[in-house]
């Protein structure tokens, strides 16, 4: 029955948790080499490790490749590039660190963030000869956005500059200027060589002019994490259990302290309860718990909060979190396609999940000079300030470096993490702006596929009047239904008879017609439907906008029937009317048609119509069948 006896050793001398340090910087600037060298020079390698590295290097015809200590994957060793981050324990005197090796290649930015996000300090490695490069800037920006407060710059490969003071001071001032623009304070700038070990663990003979710390000295100076215990209490509910008739509200304390007897507000609904007991299993009995502890609370009255509800002090207005349905955030964007206004996501904030829509993109960071520009989309791996609109008020504390507050993460309908969104504060509604708070479907894309048996998609048929768009679309609709695929056709004339009956054929009205069709297509596709749009949509720019509205599900199909053929067919007698001047601004005659440059599918006119129908049907099936 030893289980329930609390041993004496609880009162052992205190050992602090390891301090995580991330090593970042442009690809090939020597991050992995630096860590390998650091471990070797501080005698931190296990027996046999060095021999393994030497052997793996020899096999690939290399001299000792220190980076192999971290780059353990075959692809990493064969390509000489770090793909995913690694964490290894490391000790300096009595202090424990965890060194995180992050990849520098842009393609692996998400892995860099995975490694860097919980670091206390960062070493930004810059090749002294090359100076700051694109990923140096990108990583520096990220250090700021994820809230890393202590940054050490290491000018690596200084051996290539023979540790020349004038040259190194020049790079140093460039890098300092760059970080200054990001309001990042630099703890030290160390000229070093990972290859030869200069200024890593010991002072270099080659840079006698340098009076600052070695890397090891700079690491030892990184202060321990700030205490979160003195801030107002916050505990997001992680789960609610009922064991043996007792209800436990489980969660981890994000900050502050909670005591039995405290009165707490629960979530946005504002119910209040008193803490009846702070519960733990097999631990010293204490009626109090502080930041970082995973505990369970019994509440009085015995309420049942939801996961995600924030618990905070009930009686102190000043200690309450922010509350807003519109939130300004700084965004780092990790999806392969750009982000646009109007897209919907789940905002995860600790254990809470909120449906949000991008209400506006307020500024986009230009990575060349790190300035803010206007923009209507955020590129992959880009940074921006955006405003999110939620369907309900969100309780949050604004992001602040070194603390867990305001760490928003955006998740798409496929449950993929697509961006980090540190929450800056509530957003004011601009004058004249309507307070719209769109809601997003809670049905996941996977569930829809399961229910319908196929994926969704928007197939946008463009072509001259009379080119056969509607005929092909309707025939494909029928063929698909025989394959148990539900398709909807949005046909130009049909739309104009109803939804768009207020529109004429001026450029503005045509534009509006296409915009509406694109939004309807998007809504249908989001509900899991296959949508075939048959619209002349003559302008490249209008189709580009449609693609933007619909997003990644958009497939452009060019019904490529030449003008002469269309005019010869002229099923509705429109060409004849246009030629005689009865229809102004008729596409192909008196208004331009811009053919798509690279449509996803082209249906040429020199083949029988049935072939076009079969080609389109097969194309759609290939995309939507799971």
């Amino acid at each position: 029955m030893g289980d329930n006896i609390v041993t004496e050793s609880f009162s052992e001398t205190h050992r602090a948790a390891a301090t995580p340090i991330v090593i970042v910087g442009h690809v090939d600037h020597g991050k992995s080499s630096l860590i390998g060298r650091l471990l070797y020079d501080t005698d931190s390698l296990q027996d046999g490790k060095l021999a393994q590295i030497v052997e793996s290097s020899r096999k690939r015809g290399l001299a000792v490749e220190w980076s192999f200590l971290l780059d353990s994957l075959q692809i990493e060793r064969d390509q000489g590039v770090t793909v995913d981050s690694t964490r290894i324990p490391f000790r300096l005197g009595s202090r424990e660190f965890v060194i995180v090796d992050a990849p520098g290649h842009r393609q692996f930015l998400r892995n860099m963030i995975t490694g860097a996000a919980d670091a206390e300090a960062a070493v930004l490695v810059v090749d002294a000869k090359e100076g700051a490069q694109e990923q140096t800037r990108r990583h520096a920006m990220l250090l700021r956005l994820i809230g890393i407060r202590h940054v050490i710059v290491l000018l690596n490969k200084s051996d290539l500059l023979e540790f020349d003071e004038a040259k190194i001071v020049k790079v140093e001032s460039d890098v300092r200027q760059l970080l200054g623009r990001l309001e990042i304070e630099v703890e030290a700038v160390v000229p070093a060589s990972a290859r030869d070990g200069d200024n890593i663990a010991s002072r270099s003979e080659r840079s006698l002019w340098y009076k600052g710390p070695t890397l090891v000295e700079a690491l030892a100076n990184v202060p321990p994490p700030a205490s979160r215990a003195a801030l107002p209490f916050r505990m997001p509910v992680q789960d609610v259990y009922r064991f043996d008739g007792i209800r436990y509200v489980a969660g981890r304390i994000e900050r502050g302290t909670v005591r039995a007897g405290d009165r707490l507000s629960i979530g946005a609904q504002g119910q209040v309860a008193t803490v009846a007991e702070v519960c733990r299993w097999h631990a010293p009995e204490l009626p109090v718990a502080g930041a970082g502890e995973s505990i369970a609370l019994r509440l009085e009255p015995d309420l049942v909060p939801d996961r995600g509800d924030l618990l905070f002090p009930a009686d102190d207005k000043a200690a309450a979190p922010e509350r807003s349905a519109r939130i300004r955030t700084r965004l780092f964007w990790l999806r392969g396609e750009p982000l646009r206004v109007g897209e919907s996501f789940t905002l995860r904030l600790t254990t809470a999940e909120h449906d949000v829509t991008v209400a506006s993109i307020d500024a986009v960071v230009d990575l060349e000079d790190l300035t803010l520009r206007e923009g209507d989309s955020v590129p992959p791996d880009g940074f921006a300030e955006i405003t999110l609109a939620a369907s309900h008020a969100v309780l949050f504390d604004p992001f602040s470096p070194g603390f867990g507050d305001g760490r928003g993460v955006l998740v798409d309908r496929y449950q993929r993490i697509v961006g980090g969104a540190p929450l800056i504060g509530p957003a004011e509604l601009a004058d004249g702006e309507h307070a719209i708070h769109p809601t997003a479907s809670r049905v996941s894309a996977a569930r829809q596929v399961q229910a319908r048996g196929h994926k969704s998609g928007v197939f946008w048929l463009t072509g001259l009047p009379g080119s056969g768009k509607s005929t092909v679309a309707r025939a494909a609709e029928l063929a698909l239904s025989e394959q148990a695929v539900n398709a909807t056709v949005l046909d130009g004339d049909t739309l104009r008879a109803g939804l768009c009956s207020d529109l004429g054929f001026s450029p503005e009205d045509r534009h509006e017609n296409i915009r509406r069709a694109a939004h309807v297509a998007k809504i249908l596709a989001e509900s899991g439907q296959v949508v075939i749009v048959a619209l002349v949509s003559p302008l490249q720019s209008d189709r580009a906008q449609a693609r933007q509205i619909v997003g990644e599900n958009f497939h452009e199909v060019f019904v490529d029937t030449p003008l002469e053929t269309c005019e010869k067919r002229d099923p509705k007698g429109l060409y004849a009317a246009a030629r005689s001047g009865k229809i102004p601004e008729f596409t192909g005659i008196s208004a331009p048609y811009e053919a798509p440059v690279s449509p996803e599918l082209r249906l040429p006119a020199d083949r029988p119509e049935q072939e076009a129908i079969n080609t389109l049907t097969a194309f759609i099936l290939r995309i939507v069948q799971p």
Partner: protein
């Protein structure tokens, strides 16, 4: 002002002289424990059905213990032992004893005979692949969406690349070149049918942390970890592929003292790790732990 609030709390029935009590300052083990509890609770909430791999070794005993911490003294999901039928007799005895003592819901699985395994693998790796096949069969049989496993980053260099929630796609493969982002305690959830997530609550623990925690909590272990006749096991695999190390450490405290000065790696006694540079990665991509 503060005064009256303190008074009113002291009068409350539950406040028992607690008004001025301060929270304990968390040490390294407290922090590791709190993070592991957080992870286990996330898994329990998000992944159903869920099971914990109980290999009967020290790490998985610590995991069972942490689960009991997370869920107020019980493990609210089944634990799973994928039996190679080549374990030490002491381990089977331990399993039977603690299944009862800890009131565990035990799922048993068996591994296919070694003749059914890819013959191009070196011998010890073949034995690991056998375990992978046994595990895969259990995951399919019980349609598991979450499997909790006790691997640690410091054990092996490819494990150091792992996520806390590591998605496994079709065929249980680990797509090591394309792992999802994982930061700010936001973990991947399954997004397709047939996927499962490997949950790794001990990823940040080191060998010595495990031992110090075992000491602090008084967690029971199989005797094989303690020296007899100058030898003990540092890591427990199958009988035929695990070798004991030279040691006189016969108590938890002595093991800790030994580790504080040791410079060899924990898995040095595992034959498979020495067979070729890429063998571990190949096995792990195919679903090995």
């Amino acid at each position: 002002m503060t005064q009256t609030r303190i008074l009113s709390r002291e009068q409350s029935t539950t406040g028992t002289a607690s008004s001025l009590a301060q929270p304990r300052i968390m040490d390294d083990l407290d922090q590791l424990e709190a993070q592991s509890i957080f992870i286990l609770r996330e898994a329990y909430r998000k992944l159903k059905p869920l099971s914990l791999l109980w290999s009967l070794g020290k790490d998985s005993n610590v995991m069972v213990w942490l689960a009991r911490k997370a869920f107020m003294g019980r493990v609210p999901f089944p634990v799973m032992h994928v039996d190679t039928e080549k374990k030490f007799p002491e381990m089977y005895a331990f399993r039977d004893e603690y299944t009862k003592k800890w009131d565990l819901d035990l799922l048993l699985g068996y591994c296919p005979p070694v003749e059914e395994i890819d013959p191009s693998l070196p011998p010890a790796a073949r034995s690991a692949a056998r375990k992978t096949a046994g595990l895969a069969a259990m995951i399919d049989k019980h349609k598991l969406r979450g499997v909790i496993a006790g691997i640690r980053r410091d054990e092996q260099a490819t494990r150091a690349k792992e996520r806390v929630f590591s998605p496994r796609g079709a065929g249980h493969r680990w797509d090591v070149r394309n792992q999802p982002p994982e930061f700010w305690d936001q973990y991947a959830t399954p997004y397709e049918d047939g996927m499962h997530i490997r949950v790794h609550p001990l990823l940040s623990w080191r060998e010595i942390d495990i031992w110090r925690y075992i000491e602090r909590e008084g967690i029971p272990l199989v005797d094989l970890y303690f020296a007899k006749d100058g030898k003990r096991y540092r890591s427990l695999g199958d009988q035929d592929i695990t070798n004991p190390i030279e040691s006189n450490a016969s108590t938890v405290a002595e093991v800790i003292a030994e580790l504080e000065t040791s410079r060899t790696s924990e898995r040095a006694g595992r034959a498979m790790d020495h067979e070729s540079e890429d063998v571990f990665e190949r096995l792990r991509v195919a679903g090995y732990l």
